[in-house]
Amino acid sequence: MDVPAISTEHLSRRFGDLVAVDDMNLRVTAGQFFGFLGPNGAGKSTTIKMLTGLLAPSSGRMEILGLDLTGNPVEVKRQIGVVPEGMALFGRLTGAEYLNFVGRMYGLGRDTAAKRAAELLEFMQLADQPKALIADYSHGMQKKLALAAAVIHGPKILFLDEPFEGVDAIASGTLKSMLNGMIARGATIFLTSHVLEIVERLCSHVAIIYRGKLVAQGSLEELRTGVQAQATQAGTDAATSGGKLTLEEIFLRIVGGTRAAAEQELSWLG
């Protein structure tokens, strides 16, 4: 049997009385482009923080590439790349210095780290301002640099928390092709995003978390079939005018939101 890239068993995280992640059993197969979705405050970032070692779970088990994260943190971290919520940048280094530093921290030789840093800066179109400090970068440039840092050591799994937020269309296209290239070479990508169109276009598999609980998990087609089956059982028509359900429609049906609620009018808006 294939070892899953990511698997959790009864994973929970509590903050006082609040259960941010509740008994989560997640399974991501190696080579999947996996989208992790949920409304605001559902527990997406808490989950990604636990899976990358930034946050300790209250209970449960997490395995990355078959290794227990709690027992083998360093071995696991060597295999993964992360762009966390805060991007984890050191503002008073230049982009080149930062990538060089990250490469060496991931165990690359000095020459390899320097070579890859230069390549990544070119690829991300960040090579034009060699003396600029990261603190002086725009948000989009910082995002690109954080992504470059996450891949410098050639990780087997990439965790991305809102990777396309604040990135311009040109860079976004470059990033998507880079991520697809990684998938083609067998890497696994686990991303959270609020832009459902992007997730629908990129991801082969999706999980939806709602109020801390994993409410759906599978390929897009599986989710679509599941939602349609539920609708048939309930005697409602799940299909839209176009026929096929979009990810946004699937998402809204699963988390209980409706287009009608979104389109509700506010009387004073005229």
């Binding site: 990358t52 070692g53 930034l54 946050l55 300790a56 943190p73 360093v74 071995e75 696991v76 971290k77 060597r78 993964i80 992360v82 966390p84 805060g86 991007m87 984890a88 940048l89 050191f90 503002g91 008073r92 280094l93 230049t94 982009g95 080149a96 210095e97 990538l99 060089n100 530093f101 990250v102 060496r104 921290m105 991931y106 165990g107 030789g109 000095r110 020459d111 780290a113 320097a114 070579k115 840093a117 230069a118 800066l121 960040l126 090579a127 034009d128 301002q129 060699p130 003396k131 600029a132 400090l133 603190a135 002086d136 970068y137 725009s138 004073w268 808006l269 005229g270």
Partner: protein, 570 residues
Amino acid sequence: MAGVNSTPEPPAWSVAREQFAAIAQLRWRIFVHSLRTLRGRLEVISWAFVGLAFVGMGIGGSVGLAAAAWFLTSQRQFEWLALVLWGVLLYWQLFPVMATAFAENFDSSNFLRFPIRYSSYFFIRMVYGALEPTTLIGSLWLIGITLGVGIADPSLLPWAALLLLTFGALNILLARMIFAWIERWLARRKTREILGIVFLLFIISVQFIGPVMNRYGNHRGRHSRVAIPGVAMNLVSAEKFTPPGLVGAALGAASEGNPAIALGSWALECGYAAIFLWLLDLRLRAQFRGENLSEAAAPRSAAATAREKTTVREGIALPGFSPPVAAVFEKELRYLSRSGPMLFNLAMPLVVLAIFLLGPAGNAPHPGAFRNGPGFREFAFPIGVAYALLILSNLMYNCFGTEGGGIQFYFVAPVRFRQILLAKNLIHGSLIAFEACLLWVAVCLVFQRPSIGLTLATLAGAVFGALVNFSVGDLFSLYSPKKFDYAVFGRQRASGTTALAVFGVQAVVFGICAATFAATAHFGKLWLATLILLAFAAAAFAGYTILLNRIDRIAINRRESLVTELCRAQ
């Protein structure tokens, strides 16, 4: 028009009133919410004590100044009253700058996204600025002076009230104007650092006043006394045209029955206020128009871009240490080299030597302090090294403070915290070694070459002190982190617990070293101090090693609070 509400627009004054009420309510709610945490409640209690001290200072000062004003008015010495007003002005202007010490001030641009008029914005900025202890104290002092003048000569009371009211308004405008411009300079990292260095220079030059006065007062008294009257006379004639001088001149003219001259002086004072108002208005209007004060890099020309291309150099290697240790060491070195104020701080022990030279060491007899031991001057080296250690405690006890969001990287990277802390301690150790070398050379040049015995004992003491500070500092860096920006000065609110720990540890370390030095010097066997302090250093090293072996577990347990504190938005 479709989609736009056609409700009649309320009058401007009514909108402004609602906006002011909303802002006041916002501030109140922020205060109330701050009481939810223990830290917030303690903060309020400490502010209550500080507030009481300010009130005491205001009322006490007011009574004192009233007495002074009464005496000077009775003696018709209004030029001296101007001198008193100079004190008030300097306090009013300098204290807020020193107290806030180039911290990130309130970001007024927050209000600019709302549809507020310029007049409302100006008013908000004035009110925000005026509601501070300095205004309260300054106002109380001016009331005291007014009453003092009025009691001494009731006919001068209306004049004093008018002139001092104008003087108070002028001070408020000047303070706001200074802050608005400082805010402008602080908005960019480069200018912020330059301003930080200017501020440090100012603080240092203040420290030199005492020793310089002491030295020149003692040695060149007669010459300086001859020189002073000429300079003073020029200053006095110029002073008449300054705001405090004008108040004194106006009161003098009024007391002599020359209302025209008094009015003229008052008009000049109003002129100063108008200039400050204009400069303030200039700044606030620029802000109101949406001036960009962000840190983002300015757009670059294509030519400039084409010229510069990134070349990535290989990182440095540290023989005997793992690549992550070398990488963190290099990163720390880069951080230090980019912090003007921090580099400046490293030169501070030399400044202390200079103060020492002008002060006690310059005047002390030689040999001195210890019987059978070295002279007072020779102890400049250990004192300088101790001071260097004290200055570096800022870095050692909060060594993740400058990482900001970068702290997350250490938790997601395949490295152990012992490697990270070892690298940070290595850089701190290198700095201490560098400082010790620099100080040794400086002491040789300025005083005399310290004896080999004293040099070795000092170095042994430095190793002992450094190791103790590394151990305690590493623990406090994990248990009590505080976000810190190299570019920002003062009001960085170091954790109170950490400050106490620094004080306690230095007291113990310096106490042990001083006792060892004193005892061995007393018996004329200073070389023994080296052995004793090396024994202490060995014990400290054992403790440090044990701690490093346990630090990974501590860091993992503390990761949430570390990330929360250091990733907090400023």
